[in-house]
Amino acid sequence: MTKRIIWLHDKALSQNHPVFDNMNEGAKAIYIWDEEFFKKRSYSFKRLVFIYETLCQLQIEIIKGDTLEVLKSFKPEKIIIPFTTDTQINNLAEQLSEVFLVEIVEEKPFVNIGSGYEFNRFFKYWNKAKNTAFLINANIESK
């Protein structure tokens, strides 16, 4: 039994993503080559080649199969997933959270504008964002 699984999806294909901080605690990182997922998206061949080329440069295992079945087969204590706004991936994450403990890990933020703000037009956002957009790491201290 693997206690922690990092489920890397195709919106976070980087060894630098904070989700890999969990590798120190013995987590296993996998990418699932899910035919049905790709077919639902109508991904063209060129998109799939781009993804596969990127996967081959990562220290992860690439497993072919159904996403939910593959993840369930590990019987993990916890599944760690990089944050994405992708609706289909988030639906899968929600289904997983009904069975397993799921942790969503966000990328380091681009700007520091705090929470609670809602902008419907770019320049309203920009007026706030520009205060930290020109600073290394948006002047946010690493944990």
């Binding site: 998206r41 706004t85 681009f110 956002y125 957009a133």
Partner: protein, 268 residues
């Protein structure tokens, strides 16, 4: 459940392998190479100062990093940090790289909207401001657009770029989206789905909200362009002759009357 191969001697071998594990997928591989190594190469070439001056032109100093950003190979934070490190010593005035940082911020903006309102990704955020209702737009992409056989040489060349490379200059994305929604009266959702199929950087949030920005369902007015504009920025590389682009060859006043007969001027 099967563990897949990761080691290949050549790109050709890798492409052959993907054909085996994805026999249903249509098309050919893009000349754009995936992976962290290629992303690093592109990062080393970014020119944020000249980007601001030339980004609207076909041969402008754009980075072509978007497929790598979309797949998380590099983050917005990393690209920004790289731009600052490379440029600020040379150009201490932040305004020199404002356009570059702002373009990264557009992606951050769309992601933040999608996080708060995932239900907006595929639905009209606001009403069309074109004088037409949503019901006036077709949900089906016409065959002549899918096959790059429209009446405009310029538009056909843009479509061929999309299908063959999976990458489009941002300005071309706006042209194509405007053509689909406003010149052909197709729902933005149909166009957005078509882009997501092909674009290596096809991201639901950035792509769909940008389509909505062009359509006017997430902006104050529709985005339109004419042949003169296409010729100014892309005439060096594409056929922007009047005789092969009759539909686009009009002033903004004429286009507004033709495309939006129920409202007044929408172009600045």
């Amino acid at each position: 459940m099967q563990t897949l191969e990761r080691n290949f001697q050549t790109r050709k071998e890798l492409i052959e392998y993907v054909k085996i594990i994805a026999p249903w997928a249509n098309g050919k591989a893009s000349p754009i190479i995936g992976g962290n190594d290629e992303a690093k190469n592109k990062m080393q070439k970014i020119d944020p100062v000249n980007y601001g001056k030339t980004r609207n032109f076909a041969d402008g100093k754009i980075t072509k990093l978007s497929p790598y950003i979309h797949h998380g190979v590099v983050s917005l934070n990393e690209v920004r940090n790289c731009a600052l490190t490379r440029c600020l010593e040379k150009y201490p005035e932040a305004k020199n790289i404002e356009k570059f940082i702002q373009e990264l911020a557009w992606r951050d903006f769309w992601q933040r909207i999608a996080k708060i309102h995932p239900e907006w990704i595929w639905s009209d955020v606001e009403k069309y401001k074109t004088g037409h209702g949503a019901q006036d737009y077709s949900p089906i992409m016409p065959e002549d657009i899918l096959n790059a056989k429209t009446g405009s040489s310029f538009i056909n060349a843009c479509i061929n770029d999309l299908v063959q490379t999976g990458y489009l200059h941002n300005h071309v994305r706006m042209y194509l989206a405007s053509y689909v929604v406003h010149f052909r009266k197709i729902k933005w959702q149909a166009g957005a789905h078509w882009f997501l199929e092909h674009l290596l950087d096809g991201d639901e949030a950035s792509n769909n909200f940008s389509w909505q920005w062009v359509a006017s369902t997430f902006s104050n007015k529709p985005y339109i362009f004419n042949l003169e504009n296409a010729d100014k920025y892309f005439g060096k590389f594409f056929d922007t002759s009047s005789k092969n682009n009759i539909e686009l060859d009009a002033s903004y006043e004429e286009l507004t009357k033709r495309l939006f007969p129920n409202i007044g001027d929408v172009h600045d």
